[in-house]
């Protein structure tokens, strides 16, 4: 208790300096946590993706579609439990800024493959009975104020025209990582419209979603699906849903790397600030440390005092920073709307924040500690703080 009291009082001696250093650490820890959460959010789609679902797309590119007829052939392949399909819609809600994922899905089968999208049965029934019906994620509904019965107009880009949908259901996520910012509607509605406006585009789908009888069948089913359509007009590429999602992330890998580098730079900068604080502190107190040495206190005691003070300052900053991360991340998540499927501060991020605080304290205390341990007592006693 005696030493702890001394450490805390020492840390409070220069309240402005310690306060500003703590503030700097708070900002750094919050920024680090926020940037890591952005990176996590970037990968959240892949993390939430199932390993026991496969995605089949056109082998040339995702922008090319595949014939609807593939569904029946895929269903017959050994290891396939169920098949559904969907097409990326890419519509604009009011302005381009209001981005959220929109999919035309085969309604009778799609939600059976995604049990993590939890829709009340009566809402699902209404959705299935309404060709213009749509189901939206809870977060999307909250962001734009969508309510059941509302009509939402999307301006098609891939599928030209103004498309009106009636909200028939709002889904919640079964997991914390489930993406609740998507907009689903009936593929049949798009297909029937295409039949009139662009007959060449009817009966085509963007991706097939394949449910497997077991996750261990992913490899051979993928190979079988792609073999089935080899040398056809639309050859396929089949991969696990997770690999499919990671493919999207890898397109923006440079941004993720940049964010990571910036987060490490922030920690490096605050490390330098903290090291400066500790160096100034110890330099001012050299005669006190020399007195302690003269009284018989050894290196272990002096190191304890210096490291202890660094830990108190860094600990305060980290504690406040970690607590601030949650509300700030929540506000940040809301401010970015539906840009990220989920925006949650992971436990791993907290662990990283704590690790950074420990690193900051240790690095800041190292050099001053070494100096105090090696200074001659008579020189230390002569020093003026």
């Amino acid at each position: 208790m005696y030493y702890l009291r001394m450490i805390v009082r020492n840390a409070m001696r220069h309240q402005l300096r310690s306060g500003l250093t703590v503030l700097g650490i708070v900002v750094a820890i919050v920024a680090f946590g926020l940037l890591r959460t952005v990176v996590d959010a970037w990968y959240s789609g892949a993390e939430a993706a199932s390993k026991s679902r496969l995605i089949t797309r056109n082998a040339i590119s995702l922008v090319f579609s595949m014939p609807l007829a593939y569904a029946g052939k895929i269903r017959q392949i050994d290891g396939v439990k169920a098949v559904s399909y969907a097409s990326w819609f890419g519509g604009v809600y009011v302005t381009e800024k209001n981005f959220f994922p929109q999919f035309a899905v085969h309604a009778p089968t799609y939600f059976n493959l995604y049990p993590e999208f939890v829709v009340p049965p009566e809402q699902m029934r209404d959705f299935l009975h309404d060709r213009k019906g749509a189901i939206v994620g809870r977060r999307l509904a909250e962001t734009y104020g969508f309510k059941i019965g509302d009509t939402v107009s999307l301006r098609g880009t891939i599928y030209p025209g103004i498309w009106d949908f009636v909200i028939r259901g709002i889904y919640d996520g079964a997991e914390r990582t489930t993406d609740v910012s998507q907009f689903f509607f009936q593929w049949d509605y798009v297909n029937e419209t295409m039949r009139i406006t662009a007959p060449r585009r009817m009966n085509t789908v963007g991706v097939y979603i394949i449910a497997l009888t077991g996750a261990d069948r992913a490899s051979d089913v993928s190979a079988s699906v792609d073999a089935t359509f080899r040398n056809s007009l639309a050859e396929t590429l089949t991969e696990t849903e997770q690999a499919f999602q990671l493919g999207f992330v890898s397109m923006t890998e440079a941004i993720v790397v940049a964010i990571r580098v910036v987060s490490y730079l922030i920690i490096f900068i605050i490390m330098a600030v903290m090291a400066n604080t500790m160096a100034m502190t110890v330099r001012e107190r050299l005669s006190e440390y020399a007195t302690l040495k003269a009284l018989g206190f050894g290196s272990r005691h002096l190191a304890g005092l210096i490291f202890g003070e660094a830990f108190v300052i860094a600990g305060c900053g980290a504690l406040i920073g970690i607590f601030c991360t949650f509300p700030i991340a929540e506000r940040f998540g809301k401010a970015t709307g539906t840009l990220f499927p989920t925006f949650n501060v992971h436990d791993e991020t907290i662990e990283w924040q704590i690790a950074c605080a420990v690193l900051i304290a240790v690095v800041a205390a190292l050099v001053p500690c070494w100096r105090v341990m090696h200074i001659r007592i008579v020189d230390g006693l002569r020093s003026i703080g």
Partner: protein, 228 residues
């Protein structure tokens, strides 16, 4: 009691020099000195004569270049840093010119500081600190921080800290150098009491002839040599 037992500080041919770049500046040359247990010695001399260096060597906070230095029968020049620190904590009480109290600790905590290196329980430490502060007349100032005390009071806290471990020797470097005449007199009387009533061996460096007059013997240094 024989002569050897009475000698608490035995210095033989002690030498110390400082190096400034390539230049070697001798500070102490061939010092031989015996101080008896219970003695009160004042070291005097002009600035740069080496008296503080000699005191630092006796206190074990500096190392000589040559010669031997035995305190209480222990050759402290042979001790390594850790052993020397442990030896200082048990055998040396320091009284500095500028008190050197920890500003974040109360008078009580400052006096308690050296006892943290002992095996005493918290209750025993409290008892010892209370006694020491009583002895220096500051029993009513235990919760005061150094900044709340006068110079004389701070020096008395420092004296209480110096005697708290019942050390073999008390070393005082200009103990009244930062005090007014009244406070200086109080401090000198206190050191005198420690010597006379408790039998503490005191070695004091001072410029002040009045302070030196309180000592039982005065040794003069000039240009690194003992002159008398």
């Amino acid at each position: 009691m024989d002569q050897a037992a009475q000698t608490i500080v035995a210095i033989r041919n002690l030498a110390k020099a400082y190096r400034r770049g390539d230049q070697v500046v001798p500070v102490l040359t061939d010092i031989t000195l015996d101080i008896a247990a219970g003695d009160y010695v004042a070291l005097m001399g002009p600035s740069g004569s080496g008296k503080s260096t000699l005191l630092n060597l006796i206190a074990g906070i500096d190392k000589p270049d040559a010669g031997s230095l035995s305190i209480g029968g222990i050759d402290i020049t042979a001790l390594d840093e850790a052993d020397l620190a442990a030896w200082r904590s048990r055998h040396v009480g320091f009284i500095f010119q500028f008190y050197n109290l920890m500003p974040v600790l109360t008078a009580f905590e400052n006096v308690e500081l050296p006892l943290l290196l002992t095996d005493l329980s918290a209750a025993q430490r409290r008892q010892h600190v209370g006694d020491a502060l009583e002895m220096v007349g500051l029993a009513d100032r235990v919760e005061h921080y150094p900044s709340e005390l006068s110079g004389g009071q701070q020096q008395r806290v420092a004296i209480a800290r110096a005697i708290i471990t019942d050390p073999t020797i008390l070393v005082a470097d200009e103990p009244t150098g930062d005090l007014d005449r009244v406070s200086a007199e109080e401090v000198l009387n206190l050191i005198d009491r420690l010597n006379r009533e408790l039998g503490k061996t005191v070695i004091m460096v001072t410029h002040d002839p009045h302070a030196a007059a309180k000592a039982r013997s005065i040794r003069h240094l000039d240009k690194g040599e003992l002159t008398q």
